[in-house]
């Protein structure tokens, strides 16, 4: 039986992006005021795991790190077909950078081992670093393929993957256990079903803290983060109308200059 871990993240609802505020001290985005939703690319990671489960026998663990409300997305994973959920939740995990996040997730995956595949979305919609998947792989000593758009062969221990690369793609053979980060082209996630939600009643979501993982506090959260955000700025986009006058030639010359100054032409 395949043992699959899917890492999922609860992100601030992009529809409420205008309400996002930057914490001036920690330079992080406090999440609790904004509804948390499923990171869009993680839906494709979950769907990949479910498709494998339908094809072969598999046990899927959905894993997330976040505040207690993040448990909602794990409940959703269970409704979609995951077998168990693990929420890594502890005030000590707060403020983690990508390394401390990967460190914590990897520690949890070690407790779930043996694992065949770890699926992650290619990136989160709030951070967009694409680092957590590769960092988990490095910490676990697994090979990693990022930006996977197709699983060409999933028989046995050597899988053949098609992954986005520059402006094209590359085919990569990878030996399990491995970490795979996925793009939206990999599949079309299925919708939640009422019967799936009911089946999730009998499935468990475990809550683990740093004690459960046996992690020293200086290795996690803000304290365990080797990187920090030096500055965070709210980008404002504005539009203005400028009327161009003169003869046709003058108008064209003026427009060309505007475009040229803007670096477009």
């Amino acid at each position: 039986m395949l043992s699959i871990v899917v890492c999922v993240k609860a992100v601030p609802d992009p529809k409420e992006a205008d309400k996002l505020m930057i914490d001036p001290i920690t330079r992080t985005l406090p999440r609790l005021d904004i509804p948390l939703v499923f990171n869009p690319l993680d839906c494709h990671a979950v769907e990949a795991a479910i498709q494998l489960k339908q094809k072969y026998s598999a046990h899927i663990t959905a894993l997330s790190m976040g505040p207690p409300p993040a448990g909602n997305i794990l409940r959703e994973c269970l409704a979609l077909g995951a077998d168990q959920g693990i929420l890594l939740t502890d005030p000590a995990f707060a403020g983690a950078d990508t390394f401390a996040t990967a460190y914590t997730l990897a520690a949890a995956i070690k407790m779930v081992e043996p694992v065949d595949v770890v699926f992650c979305g290619m990136a989160s919609s709030d951070g967009s670093t694409e680092w957590v998947g590769p960092q988990i792989a490095a910490l676990l000593g697994y090979p990693v393929v990022t930006r996977v758009r197709e699983i060409l062969d999933d028989q046995g221990d050597n899988w053949l993957l098609k992954a986005d690369f520059d402006r094209g793609y590359r085919k990569i053979k990878i030996k399990l256990p491995a970490v795979i980060t996925v793009t939206r082209n990999l599949n079309q996630p299925k919708a939640l079903s009422f019967s799936g939600i009911l089946k999730a009643r009998s499935k468990q979501i475990k809550e683990w803290n740093h004690d459960t993982l046996g992690m020293p506090i200086e290795h996690i959260g803000l304290k365990g983060s080797p990187t920090y955000v030096t500055e965070m700025t709210r980008l404002e986009s504005s539009r203005a109308v400028e009327m161009i006058g003169g003869t046709l030639r003058e108008k064209v010359e003026c427009l060309v200059k505007i475009l040229s100054d803007a670096g477009v032409a």
């Binding site: 909602n72 409704a79 919708a191 079903s193 009422f194 939600i197 999730a200 009643r201």
Partner: protein
């Protein structure tokens, strides 16, 4: 202690229903509006999404989610297409007749197929002489050779042409005070759907007439017992019918509020979005107040239903309030849109037309007041 919050599971039901409505139903709306048809496609979508299984107990192939779950699903579907929600709610009415009044054999025979949408039932009570006075029912039956022979005509029947099974209320020819409900199957000799209605709103929702001419019905097709027809019909209409209309109305209210907020935030007048104008803010506030109050009334009644209690009076209050509020919300949403509110490409015109169909369905507002006053005076 009263807990007014939805459970985590109910929130997931809402998410599932919302995604379903936005991704699977919304794409059918333009065709439904244009052709006043398209019901086969949306009923297929509803079946595939397990919507008909929501109230059916698990032992009969359903999901047993209950009536709060049904109201959530209806509200979310109606927010996108009240025409679809209306068909869904009336199929639910037919299903409820079997759940509440069907014999064990009838439940075993019909409910598993209803759960998958393979077959679907509707309820036929209203006649040209009216729907709110079921005792004025002219469709009648006589007994002959152990069977029953039905004659009559029913009108304004939602799903008249699409339902596979009709639960028909008829009067005993020999005793005008006795009424019985019969299961009429599509294809029975003498039974046929006839005229198709074209309503001001809810386009694409099948509504029409059915005709019964010497239809021979076996005794095992009586539902709820001979002479118990009024109880069967009134039980499902009172709880599930009115409850369904509350779901439809809440969906329209939410859709109107969403459209009004969007337009008011984007439409600039005097150099600022019109949402800065107090006259617009007050309209939006009224819509929001009505929606919040309507939800409290509707979900409270549905919660009573889930506890196994009758909630027809509570649903009469909720039905009156929400359907009136939906009409008010649609009018205000159109007003906020100004001239654009008269143009077909803005959905508020549809909401306004749809809102007018909410009132008469499952009893007019005046009939609701009759029921509510009777409740208060009793």
């Amino acid at each position: 202690m009263i807990d007014f919050t939805f459970t985590e599971e109910q929130e997931l039901f809402r998410k599932a229903a919302r995604e379903f409505a936005e991704t699977r139903i919304a794409l059918h709306v333009p065709n439904m509006e244009k052709t006043d048809r398209g019901w086969d496609e949306v009923v297929k979508e509803l079946s595939e999404a397990e919507m008909f299984a929501v109230t059916i107990p698990e032992e009969y192939g359903g999901l047993g989610i209950g009536y709060v779950g049904r109201l959530i699903a209806l509200e979310e579907i109606a927010r996108i297409s009240v025409a679809t929600a209306m068909m869904y709610q009336v199929f639910g009415l037919g299903i409820e007749a079997f759940i509440k009044s069907g014999s064990e054999e009838q439940k075993q025979q019909y409910l598993p197929k209803f759960a998958t949408g393979e077959r679907l039932p509707t309820v036929a009570v209203t006649e040209p002489s009216g729907g709110s006075d079921p005792k004025g029912c002219q469709t009648s039956y006589t007994k002959a050779n152990g069977a029953y022979i039905l004659n009559g005509r029913k009108c304004f029947i939602t799903n008249s042409h699409t339902a596979d099974v009709q639960v028909v209320l008829a009067m005993d020819c020999n005793n005008p005070d006795s009424f019985t409900t019969f299961i009429i199957e599509k294809g029975m000799e003498g039974f046929k759907p006839t005229h198709e209605e074209h309503k001001v709103g809810m386009r694409g929702c099948n509504t029409g007439e059915i005709e019964l001419k010497d239809v021979v019905v076996p005794a095992q097709n009586i539902i709820g017992g001979e002479g118990k027809g009024l109880k069967v019909a009134m039980t499902v209409i009172g709880d599930v019918g009115r409850g369904g209309m509350v779901g439809c109305a809440l969906g329209v209210q939410q859709a109107c509020l969403d459209a009004a907020v969007k337009f008011a935030s984007e439409r600039v007048l005097y150099g600022k979005p019109i949402s800065n104008l107090q006259s617009i803010q007050f309209k939006i506030a009224e819509m929001k107040i009505d929606l919040e109050a309507g939800r409290l009334l509707g979900y409270r009644a549905a919660a009573l239903q889930d506890k196994g209690e009758r909630a027809s009076n509570e649903f009469a209050v909720a039905k009156y309030f929400t359907t009136e509020a939906a009409q008010k919300a649609a009018k205000m949403a159109v007003d906020i849109h100004g001239g654009y509110g008269c143009m077909d490409e803005f959905p508020v015109t549809r909401y306004l037309r749809d809102s007018f169909v909410l009132g008469p369905s499952a009893g007019t507002s005046d009939i609701m007041k009759v029921i509510i006053s009777r409740w208060a005076l009793s």
